[in-house]
């Protein structure tokens, strides 16, 4: 059984934030956890900032309070920065990024004992000719670092269940490429 956990997934409209959230939620659900989530719909989906809250464990409210998210996944650099206030001390951040973090952010994360990992998820997905699957590249990358809570096998199993038939194989390929990228970075 997983512990209580708050997860923020952020990015831009159209990047597949909701699918990512769904994968994480189903992975938690498959372990018998209670889950709550909150999504952005409507006007905000037209290319604007999108944020999804996912709460694992016994909670009543769907929104994560500032300073209490232990895990943040972001498909966009700026959206990652914009949502930094959600991060709890010691939080882990996974960001789609092909360059260095902004120095001020880097210093802040170090100061708060937060760990962050970045991968050029968009480039990884594009290499496999699946530019719209950045979300799965980041998911695979995240899986390389997370064995206790989710783990690559469990996530792959959920992706298998949730993917529409015509996207299943490409989803696996992108996920695995992200995972390989992550594994190679690990100490």
């Amino acid at each position: 059984m997983m512990e209580n956990m708050n997860i923020i997934v952020s990015g831009l409209g159209g990047q597949g934030i909701l699918f990512m959230t769904k994968i994480l939620a189903h992975a938690a659900l498959s372990q018998g956890c209670d889950i709550l989530g909150a999504e952005t719909h409507g006007m905000a989906q037209r290319g604007g900032s999108v944020i999804s809250h996912l709460r694992i464990g016994r909670h009543q409210g769907t929104l994560i309070r500032a300073g209490s998210a232990g895990l943040l996944l972001s498909l966009d650099e700026n959206e990652c920065y914009r949502n930094l206030a959600f991060a709890a001390p010691g939080a882990r951040l996974f960001v789609n990024l092909d360059r260095q973090l902004r120095p001020a952010v880097d210093a802040y994360l170090k100061d708060k004992a937060m760990t962050w990992h970045s991968a050029p998820a968009t480039a990884i997905a594009r290499q496999i000719n699946a530019p719209f699957s950045t979300n799965l590249a980041l998911m695979g990358f995240f899986a390389a670092f997370d064995n206790d809570l989710f783990g690559a096998d469990r996530l792959r199993h959920v992706i298998d269940q949730l993917s529409p038939e015509r996207f299943r194989q490409v989803n696996f390929k992108v996920f695995d490429a992200g995972l390989a990228y992550g594994n190679q970075l690990k100490p």
Binding site: A38, E39, M43, V105
Partner: protein, 622 residues
């Protein structure tokens, strides 16, 4: 067999309705309510139920239809967004007096924030105005239970019952298990009783009295609605401060107190706040020196409590009077109240440093924008060019985003593009001023609320150009069909009613249909239409700008893909970015010229028509 799903709040509401035996469901889409009806249809089809569901042309039409079904003894429901209930208010207030035979549940979804609405209005106040019971769920699971409860209450007391989920319930997800669903055998019947069903004012007085009696009974019922209305007072103890909360704020309060182990502060949860559970509330306030009220979005409980001296909340300045009660706002409000009552504060988890950090990063604000390839963008570009003095009245839909292209000057409510155009015309005409006016509204909005305004404008001799942006779908709320499409809620074919017939039926003599993807043709047609409004026997000119939505009908919308590139002729004038405002057009960091974002470009090729230097060209096909 039970199955468990990570269910959207609106899906949980659909489930609750069907578990309660809902036989008829009507709706007009609107964020955050739009998914309730489609999710109901899915469950109905999966479980082979007999429930009838329909998209109605507007919320009043939807409520009248559901009301009639309930008068005929059926279990009916009707869903909409909170401002939709304004449209249906005429029906609601009368239906409360008359009552029903079967059951009538009205689901009106609120939008504190607001995230996707014109106002932050509180449906619970509308329930108070109409004198109907209202339930306020805290999360999807409670919304599902309350949908069932609402149906039971409505059937028992023969009164419409409102379920009011906030956006954080509608668009939240929760794991929910459920079993098999069954149809209800209740058959339609109508017992003639003109004194009730067609009551004249004399009988209305009597009905009002009966409604008041029902409310007294329901108020007593709500005093003991254990699972949804309860408090955590320890017997015989008194407290410096108690918290009264309902709906989404209750969930936040509960989590906050549990996390910080603050059992020293008792909570009264009011999930069913009206008719007010007076006894329950009085027993709570009697044990507390002060109470703080946390409710969305306005002040219902705070007004009904009536203990002005004791109560902290919006009226005392402890809780903000506008905006969503997100956890941080509730934390701050509680701490103000704790301080007033001499209690130790909650630990704030938000790091004060982080705000300064993110502010210092100067992050670009992502404003919502029309999609790449959206036909509305081409329409607004054509309308706007060279018309700085024109007043552009517009309306509710994706196309309100035409504001980014300078093509939207007003947006009031559904249908107001036409009625405000008419109002502006008469206001200026009175002063002998020929003010050019162009109104824009979408196809679904026109069917919803356009005809009454258009009839009025034609009849009273207003002059303006009305552009109906016909993308053949209700796009903003998630692609629901329109009467023009003729597709019904369950996917079956209905009778399509073309816009042309409706416009002509409203008495309009000038009508042209144009494809906005041909920007030049659109510009020409607008010029002609404007001229018509100025001729001696001219009047209202209507243009139907028809092109399918690029999201709903990708292949049909962009029949010929035109991959574009930017040549060296680009002088970086910014015309395409500022005036055409396509999110796929940016600045190429290396060349300083306009650059194309391949990831989001829809290959519509519209920007080729826009560049004054003809520097955006189609890539030669190899």
């Amino acid at each position: 067999m039970t199955q468990e799903q990570f269910m959207l709040g609106n899906e949980a509401i659909a489930l609750g309705l069907l578990e309660a035996g809902c036989q008829v469901l009507t709706s007009y889409p609107g964020t955050p309510s739009s998914e309730i009806l489609p999710e109901t249809v899915k469950l109905v089809q999966a479980h082979r139920l007999e429930t009838y569901a329909q998209w109605s042309t507007n919320e009043k039409v939807a409520l009248d239809n559901a009301f009639a079904a309930a008068v005929a003894g059926k279990r009916a429901a009707c869903c909409m967004k909170q401002v939709g209930l304004n449209v249906a208010a005429d029906s609601l207030l009368s239906a409360a007096y008359i009552g029903i035979m079967g059951a009538l549940v009205i689901i009106s979804c609120d939008d504190p924030g607001p995230h996707s609405s014109q106002t932050e209005q509180d449906t619970r106040l509308m329930a108070r105005l109409a004198k109907v019971p209202v339930l306020d769920p805290a999360n999807p699971q409670e919304a599902r239970e309350m949908a069932r409860l609402a149906m039971q209450l409505s059937e028992r007391y023969q009164v419409p019952v409102i379920l009011r989920p906030g956006i954080r319930v509608c668009h939240a997800r929760q794991n929910i298990g459920f079993g098999a669903l069954k149809s209800v055998p209740q058959k339609a019947s109508f017992g003639k009783d003109p004194a009730r069903w067609a009551a004249t004012p004399k009988f209305r007085l009597e009905l009002h009295g009966r409604l008041n009696e029902k409310l007294d009974q329901i108020s007593a019922h709500f005093d003991t609605l254990a699972h949804h209305n309860f408090h955590t007072l320890a017997p015989g103890r008194s407290y410096p401060l108690g918290i009264i909360a309902g709906g989404v704020p209750y969930a936040v309060v509960r989590d906050l107190l549990d996390e910080q182990k603050r059992s020293d502060v008792p909570v009264l949860k009011l999930g069913a706040p009206y008719p007010f559970p007076r006894k329950l509330a009085d027993s709570f306030t009697a044990a507390c020196d002060k109470v703080v009220v946390l409710e969305e979005t306005d002040t219902l409980i705070e007004y009904l409590l009536g203990e002005r001296e004791k109560t902290l909340g919006r009226l005392s300045g402890h809780v903000p009077r506008q905006g969503e009660l997100v956890p941080e706002v509730i934390g701050a409000g509680l701490n103000k109240a704790f301080e007033s009552a001499g209690l130790p504060p909650l630990t704030q988890q938000q790091d004060p440093q982080v705000q300064a950090l993110t502010a210092g990063l100067d992050l670009a604000v992502r404003r919502p924008t029309l999609c790449p390839g959206c036909p509305h963008r081409a329409s607004f570009y054509a309308l706007r060019k060279g018309r700085a003095k024109t007043i552009f009245t517009s309306d509710i839909g994706c196309y309100t985003l035409g504001i980014n292209l300078g093509g939207v000057d007003t947006c009031l409510d559904m249908g107001a593009a036409i009625t405000m155009a008419s109002g502006f015309y008469h206001a200026f005409a009175q002063d002998q001023v020929h003010q050019p006016i162009i109104a824009t509204l979408g196809d679904s909005t026109f069917y919803h609320s356009g005809t009454a305004g258009l009839l009025d404008a034609v009849y009273n001799g207003a002059r303006f150009v009305l552009v109906i942006l016909d993308n053949e779908i209700t796009a903003m709320t998630g692609m629901q069909p329109t009467p023009g499409l003729g597709l019904r809620a369950d996917g079956s074919r209905g009778k399509p009613i073309p816009l042309e017939r409706v416009v002509k039926g409203c008495g309009v003599d000038y009508l042209e249909v144009v494809d906005p993807y041909d920007i030049k043709a659109m510009q020409k047609s607008v010029k002609k239409a404007v001229a018509y409004t100025q001729t001696p026997d001219g009047g209202i000119a209507v243009i139907i700008a028809r092109h399918p939505c690029v999201i709903a009908y990708r292949d049909r919308a962009i029949a010929v893909k035109r991959k574009v590139t930017v040549t060296e002729d680009c002088v970086a004038c910014g015309h395409c970015r500022d005036r055409f405002e396509c999110p796929a057009l940016g600045i190429d960091e290396q060349s300083g010229r306009t650059g194309i974002d391949r990831q989001i470009c829809a290959d519509c090729g519209l920007c080729i028509q826009v560049c004054p230097k003809k520097a955006i060209v189609e890539v030669e096909q190899a």
